[in-house]
């Protein structure tokens, strides 16, 4: 094809959104995916916050294979042998539009790939982009396992490790401080059984996060999402924190989590369908020097766009929006006939005007707060011990509630560190 406008590397959400928008706007685009189809290397916990994304990809969602709309949120603080759970549900989570959905990325991204093809984008699976074509420092295409593919511009959506982002000089290698590994099981359960077990209406779903002793003092937590006919159950664990302590073998952590009395009954009778793992950027935007260069742009996880806010964990919405905005910048660059660094600077402008960089800037330091180990041992322990005192009726006389609260706060919580932690929490 003479004069290919754009090559997109990576069939995840950022790459697919970029290719979709480009093709839809009439640009010629090839998307490369190294797996059998888009989605075959993708993995999420997974919940997609669709609401922020709609303005950027308004027309797309009618027949999307979304699993369940999340109408029930749960957070559980886990200590050894005890836990405290908070549950929230509201009509606001349903109306006017459901704000978030559970998803399984393999079918979801595969569907998205078909959408890209429908609007005229070329999705080429089973092809790994191994290098960038460069001319006088300018990116002029890609090399796919020996074959050179020239293009006006290359959008790198090659994932959290982004080997090509490094080759383009846009970012450094991922630092273990800024990454966590998420790993999970997809467990089959009958549709009706899920609704019964979790008290859900048809098509509605639960998002359940866990933190505390399950990660043995290491930054991270557990999650459970209900899909249409399965559960996604897994853990997220900070790489550096884990490597420093090595508190267990990683696969064992999940087994112990599953064996917890809070979890075991929820997955009972389920059949394991798949075991998967993926890295998650946690503050990895620090690795990124620039979001664009001469003839090249960085989007999605590759750009470090993800936010773990403790109780909301986001990444896919950032990926979709940044991909769509990269496409927008490329489209404008094509109109100007200029794909140089200066012209592509528009991408950053667009990102700054969107929730992507606004939220990244506002909350970009939350990972440091969350990395604090007291969140994973002392505070869950406090909550659970307090609850125990409040709820348990023992042999002796019962204390006044106010007194219990004061005693606990004094013994377990009130020290200079706590105040420091509280001060830091304002970041959230």
């Amino acid at each position: 094809m003479e004069g290919l406008d754009a090559v997109v590397v990576g069939g995840g959400l950022a790459g697919l959104a970029a290719a979709y928008r480009l093709a839809k706007d009439g640009l010629s685009v090839i998307l490369f995916e190294r797996g059998d189809h888009p989605g075959s290397k993708s993995m999420t916990g997974g919940r997609l916050y669709l609401e922020p994304v709609r303005p950027y990809l308004p027309e797309l969602w009618e027949d999307a294979p979304l699993e369940r709309m999340v109408t029930k949120e749960r957070v559980t603080a886990m200590a050894e042998g005890a836990s405290v759970t908070f549950e929230f549900t509201s009509e606001g989570l349903r109306r006017p539009q459901p704000h978030s959905w559970t998803v399984l990325r393999s079918p979801f991204d595969r569907w998205f790939g078909e959408k890209v093809a429908e609007v005229g984008g070329f999705v080429i699976p089973q092809r790994k982009v191994t290098d960038l074509l460069k001319e006088d420092g300018k990116v002029v295409g890609v090399v796919a396992e020996g074959e050179e593919i020239p293009a006006q511009v290359v959008i790198l959506a090659d994932g959290v490790l982004s080997p090509l982002g490094e080759k383009a000089g846009l970012r450094g290698p991922l630092d273990p401080r800024y990454a966590a590994v998420g790993f999970k099981e997809v467990i089959r359960l009958e549709q009706g059984e899920i609704e019964k077990r979790f008290g859900l209406r048809e098509g509605e779903g639960l998002a359940h996060l866990f933190f505390g002793s399950i990660t043995k003092g290491v930054f991270g937590g557990g999650f459970l999402y209900t899909n249409r006919e399965s559960l996604s159950l897994g853990l997220v664990v900070g790489i550096e924190a884990f490597a420093e302590r090595l508190p267990a073998e990683m696969p064992e952590l999940l087994e112990e989590f599953k064996a917890r009395p809070e979890v075991a009954p929820l997955i009972e009778g389920g059949e394991l369908l798949e075991y998967s793992a993926h890295l998650i950027p946690e503050g990895a935007h620090r690795m990124v020097k620039r979001l664009y260069g001469d003839g090249v742009l960085l989007a999605g996880d590759a750009a470090g766009f993800a936010l773990n806010h403790g109780i909301t964990v986001r990444g896919m919405d950032f990926a979709l929006a940044s991909g769509a905005l990269a496409a927008q910048a490329v489209k404008e660059a094509k109109e100007r006939g200029d794909f140089s660094t200066g012209s592509l600077a528009r991408y950053e402008e667009l990102l700054k005007g969107s929730f992507v960089l606004k939220d990244m800037e506002a909350f970009g330091h939350t990972s440091e707060v969350l990395a604090h180990e007291r969140l994973y041992d002392r505070y869950p322990y406090f909550l659970c011990s307090l609850a125990e005192e409040l709820f348990r009726v023992g042999a002796g006389p019962k204390e006044k509630i106010s007194r219990t609260l004061w005693r606990f706060a004094k013994d377990l919580l009130l020290d200079s560190k706590t105040w420091k932690d509280l001060w830091r929490m304002r970041e959230l």
């Binding site: 094809m1 090839i30 059998d36 093809a117 070329f122 080429i124 092809r127 593919i149």
Partner: protein, 262 residues
């Protein structure tokens, strides 16, 4: 050389296959591609063309998604692709399928017809030789080497046979089925894939094949499918533990007494 290659869309060998509880059919995971042995046939056709010139046409019979494998053939380099597509053509046995494919081949000039030794899904290896019979040409199966002599109107092939190989000469036109070892199929270039995605795939219906609905598909089949059955399950593996000497002793004991295999 005018070469026709027959290609089939089949599930990946790793695709999950489940027999429906009522035995009326099977559910196959959406993971399809060109039959491996057919890709050897396409590659060989392209190599012959590159040497002697001519045209290569790929033909497939199947549901409309079969255009995917025809696009793969185009991406690899074939000149034309034809899909035999009509509801009546589907659901037939190898015989009925071969009859329709032969009618498709007959719409073209041909010196050589190539196909895979068998398709992954039914593993029969019947369609090729039956097509040859409908065309009235000789067939050689399981070929691992092909040398065409266009001037002499003949082809010399090596085929895998009982206890070794046979060297066979056939006059052209002839039909050959490809066995592993014939060649290494090329990975289509990216631009070839792009070109293939835009290429026009010709469609032939029953009328243009000169066949009636009773001659093809389920009606034209010589076999009737009664039911699909779950394969018998092997009982769960028994792990033999311990140090190698104990393992060996226990294995021999089990093979003798339990499995009665010694």
């Amino acid at each position: 050389m005018e070469i026709v290659v027959l290609v089939k869309r089949v599930p990946d060998s790793e695709a999950q296959v489940q027999v429906k509880p009522d035995g009326s059919g099977v559910t196959v995971e959406e993971r399809y591609g060109m039959n491996f042995f057919d890709s050897l046939a396409v590659e060989e056709a392209l190599r012959i063309k590159e040497k002697f010139g001519g045209r290569v046409t790929a033909i497939s019979l199947g549901p409309s998604q079969s255009v995917e494998v025809l696009r793969t053939a185009i991406a690899m380099g074939v000149d034309d692709a034809i899909l035999l597509e009509e509801e009546a053509l589907l659901g037939g046995d190898e015989y009925a399928t071969a009859r329709a494919l032969a009618a498709g081949v007959k719409t073209l000039p041909y010196d050589l017809v190539l196909c895979g030794r068998e398709a992954f899904d039914d593993s029969s290896g019947v369609v090729g030789p039956v097509v040859a019979q409908f065309l009235g040409i000789p067939s050689v199966t399981m070929v691992t080497k092909v040398e065409v002599e266009p001037e002499q109107r003949k082809v010399k092939v090596e085929r895998e046979a009982e206890g070794g190989r046979e060297l066979i000469e056939a006059p052209l036109p002839a039909l050959l089925t490809a066995q592993k070892g014939l060649n290494e199929p090329r990975v289509p270039p990216v631009m070839g894939v792009v070109k293939a995605m835009k290429a026009q795939i010709k469609k032939l219906d029953l009328g243009s094949l000169g066949l009636g609905p009773e001659e093809v598909g389920q009606k034209g089949a010589k076999l009737e499918v009664l039911r699909y059955i779950e394969p018998p399950k092997r009982r769960a593996v028994k792990y033999i533990k311990g140090e190698p000497p104990e393992m060996v002793k226990e294995l021999i004991e089990l093979l003798k007494t339990e499995a009665k295999a010694l």
